[in-house]
């Protein structure tokens, strides 16, 4: 278990992280979201022991990072942002070096190598120089280095950047598999990726946590409102507007007409389902309902809302 306790990190007079606290339990995949400079990489760097906190502390299995950095680092696998690698080294040598630093004996190295090579699909590049590998392979080499000692905690700063869609799916499945038993903390700018991979999201903005919960909870709880998109053939815009007064609690957000079809965006409270009422209203007025589509608020909208509100 990881516990972040009132963590603050200053760079000179600039406060990058402002007294944040949260816990991550075993078997949890946590997504860390935030715009650039929000403080998420700084938080991850403090968690890995690369930086020291200005105030507060990070506890891993009840050990704190200030007094026991080496002990904690043994349990953590870390993929830094931008994935720095030794370009002049052969992939095998990098993994061998990291494994030796992680205390993996020569006898056990082959098993560890087989595991990460298979997990990260590195078979074709094991004996190549890193500088000769594609960006996607480099990303997976970084991931393999972080996983070579089968760590209890995996901290991944932008793990899927540079990967093609197929590779992203592979890595997502891998992270999900690891996350069943272990702690995985990942940050990403690709919101859909976070949404598809993690159990829980923390959104950080200007050094403070602005949202914490499952992706579903964040999306549904953001506004307490749902939207419906309609396409109707038959009425004029004026006639279509009448629906607003006829069904209680329903509001038209947008209405337009194109090629004889009226497009309406309706907003309503989460607690009521208006779809049957709308259908009946359309039939009663001899309208043809061409489309009725629930518009789910996506994480991008939530993210924008939460991370831009402080600027206003």
């Amino acid at each position: 278990m990881i516990r972040i306790d009132q963590l603050t990190k200053n760079y000179g007079s600039f406060q990058a992280v402002k007294s944040i606290s949260f816990e991550v339990n075993d078997g949890e995949i946590l997504g860390f979201l935030g715009s650039n400079g929000a403080g998420k990489s700084t938080t991850l760097k403090v968690m890995t022991g690369y930086l020291s906190p200005t105030a507060g502390n990070v506890y891993v299995n009840d050990l704190n990072i200030i007094e026991h950095p080496i002990e904690i680092q043994k349990h953590i696998g870390y993929l830094p942002e931008l994935n720095p690698l030794y370009g002049d080294m052969v992939v095998y040598d990098i993994l061998k070096f990291i494994a030796s630093m992680r205390g993996i004996s020569d006898k056990n190295f082959n098993n560890a190598l087989d595991r990460v090579v298979s997990d990260c699909t590195l078979n074709s590049v094991v004996h190549k120089k890193v500088s000769e590998c594609s960006k996607g392979f480099k990303q997976r080499i970084g991931l393999a280095s972080a996983m070579i000692h089968d760590p209890e905690i995996l901290i991944l700063d932008e793990p899927v950047s540079g990967l093609d869609p197929n590779q992203i799916i592979e890595i997502r499945e891998l992270i999900k598999r690891i996350g069943q038993e272990k702690i995985v903390i990942m940050s990403s700018h690709i919101l859909q990726e976070i949404q598809a991979t993690v159990d829980r999201i923390i959104i950080i903005n200007e050094g403070t946590i602005v949202a914490d919960g499952s992706p579903e909870k964040l999306v549904s709880g953001a506004q307490g409102l749902s939207k419906l998109e309609l396409e109707i053939s038959g009425p004029t815009i004026k006639e279509a507007r009448m629906v607003e007064g006829s069904i209680d609690g329903l509001q038209i957000r947008d209405i337009s007409r194109s090629k004889g079809i009226i497009k309406v965006l309706i907003e309503h409270n989460n607690t009521t389902d208006f779809r049957a009422d709308i259908f009946k209203y359309a039939v009663d007025n001899d309208w043809i309902l061409l489309k009725m589509n629930p518009v789910s608020e996506n994480l991008e909208g939530i993210f924008r809302e939460l991370t831009s509100s402080n600027h206003e």
Partner: protein, 238 residues
């Protein structure tokens, strides 16, 4: 201890997997041989004093060059973040890297066996004791310059800047009893002379292993390695 060994092995293989080690060793051997053979056969002396005078000069530029990448490059490429989040202390990291530079210098000194062999074949009444202490002095000097080089490398993330700072600092220690002494007040003269690396090297090269000289070398090495470790740790300062 194991961590120091792994860092050492990685750095040594990094030297020999790039042109760096070969350029250093070949040019080191050529420069030494050139000056040695130019003078050795003219002076009729059965010793390696010529070699022991040339190598400290060659060191002035070569050691900052082999040390400049040790930390600056890691900082520049970001691999420092990978290294320092492994379960390793900054002290182990610096010592491992320092020893790898020392190893390369040791290999360079092995190349001067050619000159030693030439002396054995042509010289008479060779003072092997003085030759041994001469090599010891060169090795210790290499260690001092390497500690300065690695310190310079930890100051900047730019290798060229690290090289220039390294050469400057090494020159300060080399020239301390030559030029700087001229400008110092008399009461400080003996202190400045004690700080000058050449003063101690000359003592050792004469065949005398004096504890004062050994303490000097180890103090300077420890000081610069300590400063390097502190500089690395400065990222953790609150």
């Amino acid at each position: 201890m194991n961590n120091i060994k792994h860092i050492f092995k990685k750095e040594v293989s990094s030297y020999f997997n790039s042109p760096m080690a070969y350029i250093f060793l070949v040019i080191f051997a050529i420069v030494n041989s050139f000056f040695f053979t130019n003078i050795f056969f003219k002076v009729n002396q059965s010793d390696l004093r010529i070699l022991f005078n040339i190598i400290p000069l060659v060191y002035l530029f070569f050691i900052p060059a082999i040390c400049m990448s040790l930390i600056a490059k890691e900082k520049n490429t970001g691999t420092m973040e990978v290294l320092t989040t492994l379960p390793i202390t900054d002290r182990e990291l610096v010592i491992g890297k320092f020893l790898s530079a020392l190893f390369l210098i040791f290999v360079g000194l092995l190349f001067t066996f050619i000159q030693f062999y030439t002396l054995m074949q042509t010289g008479t009444d060779i003072d092997y004791g003085a030759i041994f202490t001469g090599y010891l002095g060169l090795f210790l000097l290499g260690a001092v310059y390497s500690s300065i080089g690695i310190f310079a490398s930890s100051i900047s993330s730019d290798q060229i800047v690290a090289f220039i700072i390294g050469v400057f600092l090494v020159l300060v220690f080399y020239l301390m009893d030559k030029t700087i002494l001229i400008f110092t007040p008399p009461f400080m003269a003996s202190f400045i002379q004690y700080l000058a690396v050449d003063y101690h090297l000359t003592n050792i090269s004469r065949g005398v292993i004096d504890s004062r000289n050994i303490i000097y070398f180890f103090s300077i090495i420890s000081f610069f390695l300590f400063m390097t470790i502190r500089l690395l740790e400065s990222r953790k300062w609150k």
